[in-house]
């Protein structure tokens, strides 16, 4: 049994590189170090999986003969393809001996594949209880981008290690939190007929972040209790969802925040970058001292007798306040807000600060970030 196809080297590489990000270097099954190639109806479908997530792509071919499946060592193939300038490559595959011959303009490369039937079967959609929506690719991408950084790495509460995606009749909400910081990104232009939700693990979220920028069409999202299926024009992502209930995040958003700071976001960011160099490396504690229209940012490391202090122009209304934050978290939050000015609502030094974009350009967007303080004199 033979199959044969001719494909552009750069086209093949770009598709394979995208799906190769699924392959784990800590694979439990050796077959998962391979791409699965399936040739059928003049189409080449390539699959990569780590059992939890699976990425599938359809690669356009110049020509093809025969049908069949074979598993192909991923690393050797991508490493070789990287070194080719654009040219057609001919793959001759003997499906009985699994011998593969790749013919390029100047040479021949021989590899032995593995039996494609050994590749784990993909999860199928359940018959009932499946939710099916269509989301603008840009909405999905921004939702993932804004929240992924805030997910946890929590051994005991796996639900925190993913992005909580909540479908409402009037909005679509992405939430992530590691119990210190929380992001709620709401889109009023995304909606669903059925109210539902799922928790998307970190890894497929970052895979989406990688394949979505090139997508121009709306993305079909289907999910049941166990798996989610994202269908893009050229890619399909299937992933196991995090099981369990996401904590009720709305209850931790402080309601009464009489102290409001409005400040140039980039200026604050740059100040924090400088001042945090002087903070204790273990705690990264920086201190905000707030009084009317003035913010003093300071840090010190007693072990090395170093300290830093900067005074910033701002708008501040409220009582005089001293509050501590971990600088790395603050910097992450500020870099994930895109407006020129940022508004910070505070109640007291033991309660979360609310970070909001001040002049949001997109009326369909509702961004809220929360950060718990550090106790200054613990």
């Amino acid at each position: 049994m033979q199959m044969k196809f001719v494909v552009s080297s750069t086209e093949l590489l770009s598709h394979l590189q995208a799906i190769s990000r699924v392959i784990s270097n800590k694979n439990t099954l050796p077959i998962l170090d391979n791409f699965l190639f399936e040739l059928k109806n003049d189409e080449l479908v390539a699959t990569a999986s780590d059992l939890e997530s699976t990425l599938i792509t359809t690669i356009p071919l110049d020509s093809s003969v025969g049908e069949g499946v074979i598993a192909f060592p991923a690393k050797i193939l991508t490493d070789t393809l990287k070194e080719f300038p654009e040219q057609p490559l001919t793959f001759d595959i003997d499906l009985t001996s699994l011998a593969v011959k790749i013919t390029s303009e100047n040479g021949v490369f021989s590899i032995v594949g593995q039996n494609g039937e050994d590749f784990p079967k993909l999860p199928q959609r359940e018959e009932s209880g499946i939710v099916d929506i269509t989301v603008d690719s840009d909405v999905l991408l921004t939702g993932v981008n804004k929240t992924l950084f805030a997910t946890a790495d929590d051994e005991l509460r796996p639900v925190m290690n993913g992005i909580f995606i909540e479908l409402g009749n009037n909005d679509l909400t992405f939430v992530a939190s590691d119990a210190h910081k929380l992001v709620r990104y709401k889109r009023l232009d995304g909606r669903s007929e059925v109210e539902s939700s799922f928790i998307l693990p970190k890894k497929p979220a970052s895979l989406l972040r990688n394949i979505l920028p090139k997508e121009e069409n709306p993305v079909k999202v289907e999910f049941d209790d166990k798996n989610a299926f994202f269908t893009l024009s050229n890619y399909k992502l299937i992933c196991r969802l995090v099981e369990g209930n996401y904590p009720s995040y709305n209850s931790v958003i402080p309601k009464n925040n009489p102290n409001v700071l409005t400040i140039d976001r980039v200026e604050l960011y740059n100040t924090l970058k400088r001042v945090s160099v002087f903070s204790n490396p273990a705690s990264n504690l920086i201190k905000f001292e707030l009084k009317t229209n003035e913010l003093v940012v300071s840090a010190q490391d007693i072990d090395f007798s170093i300290s830093a202090r900067e005074r910033l122009q701002c708008e501040y209304e409220g009582q005089e306040l001293e509050i501590g934050f971990k600088s790395v978290f603050l910097l992450e939050i500020l870099s994930n807000i895109s407006s020129a000015n940022v508004m910070v609502e505070l109640s007291d030094p033991t309660r979360a600060g609310i970070f909001l974009p001040y002049d949001n350009e997109n009326a369909d967007e509702d961004v809220l970030m929360l950060l718990m303080p550090m106790m200054i004199n613990a």
């Binding site: 051994e155 718990m372 004199n377």
Partner: protein
């Protein structure tokens, strides 16, 4: 203390006195934890596989270790130290540094204090100890090992230079077997050889430790005797009854190790953020893997979750004989506290 565990056993059981005794498991997989001086004459050493020890000394008597008892004797010894000074820094279960610049009994010299301490230890525990006296911790430690057993050795300030120059490099406190081998390859055999090397050269060869070697070979060690030395880690390890190759069996044993670790964490009150898994293969090679988290490692499920994760990173192609778990990366209580949401 001299041959501490073995001496305690000989002292508690008169039948063992004047006989070659090894504390540890006598079986095929046992390891000698301590050997009496009678056993050492035959070449029996601590950390030696029991099989080899028996070959060297066929009349060797193996005694199971009784750690509770050693801890009890250790406490007696430590309280003797506190009769003389409060500046006591325990170095291990049977050693400590004492700063006797000021002593509670107003004895005029360190040598007199050492004699009295040795006598008190003999009186309270029936055991002999060796003392080393000098101008700093590095030299005192070396002096204490110099005339074992029942020794008392002084390195006076005038003698420091000659003493260090003539000292074999492997006797330096802080130079282990690996470093000693490396130094030998570099032509460094005695203190005087080490002294010829410049500071930049030593730092290049040995990193941070190089700076320490540069100082101590000149007799300089300004580290104070620190009575509140912070514990750096808590750990435990288990040698299996037979080498294990099956992951499921290893995990089963790991559950015991994790429970034991938790017990030790609770007993010591140690708060740490890093878990380290150590695996020793049947060929005695070993690997370690570590993981650090934000919060304190303080309960069983967390330890097991992390340990399983670490185990998955370890190649189990060869069967393994031992696993160990330890917690390190001490959380400082004075560190500012990051608050968390009340989910």
């Amino acid at each position: 203390m001299d041959a501490f565990f073995a001496s305690v056993e000989q002292n508690d059981n008169p039948e063992l006195r004047n006989k070659p005794v090894a504390v540890g498991g006598g079986g095929d997989r046992g390891v000698v934890a301590a050997a009496s001086y009678e056993a050492r004459k035959f070449g029996v050493r601590s950390a030696m596989p029991s099989k080899i020890a028996k070959k060297r000394c066929p009349s060797l008597i193996f005694v199971r270790g009784r750690h509770e008892r050693y801890k009890e004797v250790s406490n007696q010894i430590m309280s003797v130290f506190f009769e003389f000074t409060d500046l006591v820094e325990p170095l291990s279960i049977d050693e400590a540094f004492l700063d006797v610049t000021h002593n509670k009994k107003n004895l005029p010299s360190a040598t007199l204090i050492a004699r009295e301490i040795k006598a008190r230890i003999k009186e309270v525990t029936g055991l002999t100890a060796s003392a080393g006296i000098s101008v700093n911790k590095f030299l005192a430690k070396i002096a204490s090992d110099y005339r074992k057993p029942d020794g008392l050795f002084v390195i006076t300030p005038e003698e420091v230079n000659d003493f260090i120059e003539n000292l074999n490099i492997d006797k330096f406190f802080g130079v282990g077997k690996v470093t000693a081998d490396k130094m030998h390859r570099l032509g460094i055999f005695k203190g005087r050889d080490l002294k010829t090397r410049s500071l930049p050269e030593l730092i290049r060869l040995f990193g941070k430790a190089g700076a320490y070697y540069f100082q101590i070979v000149r007799g300089i060690d300004n580290r104070p005797v620190n009575p509140n030395r912070i514990r750096k880690s808590v750990g435990t390890e288990h040698t299996f009854l037979k080498d294990l190759a099956e992951k499921s069996e290893i995990i089963k044993d790991m559950e015991h190790t994790a429970k034991d670790l938790l017990k030790r964490i609770e007993r010591s009150g140690f708060r740490g953020r890093t878990l380290t898994l150590k695996v020793k293969y049947s060929n005695f090679e070993q690997v370690t893997r570590s993981k650090t988290i934000v919060q304190e490692i303080d309960h069983y499920d967390l330890i097991m979750n992390m340990a399983l994760d670490l185990l998955n990173q370890i190649d189990l192609k060869i069967s393994i004989r031992l696993i160990g778990l330890s917690v390190s990366n001490h959380i400082d209580d004075s560190e500012p506290l990051q608050l968390t949401f009340d989910f």
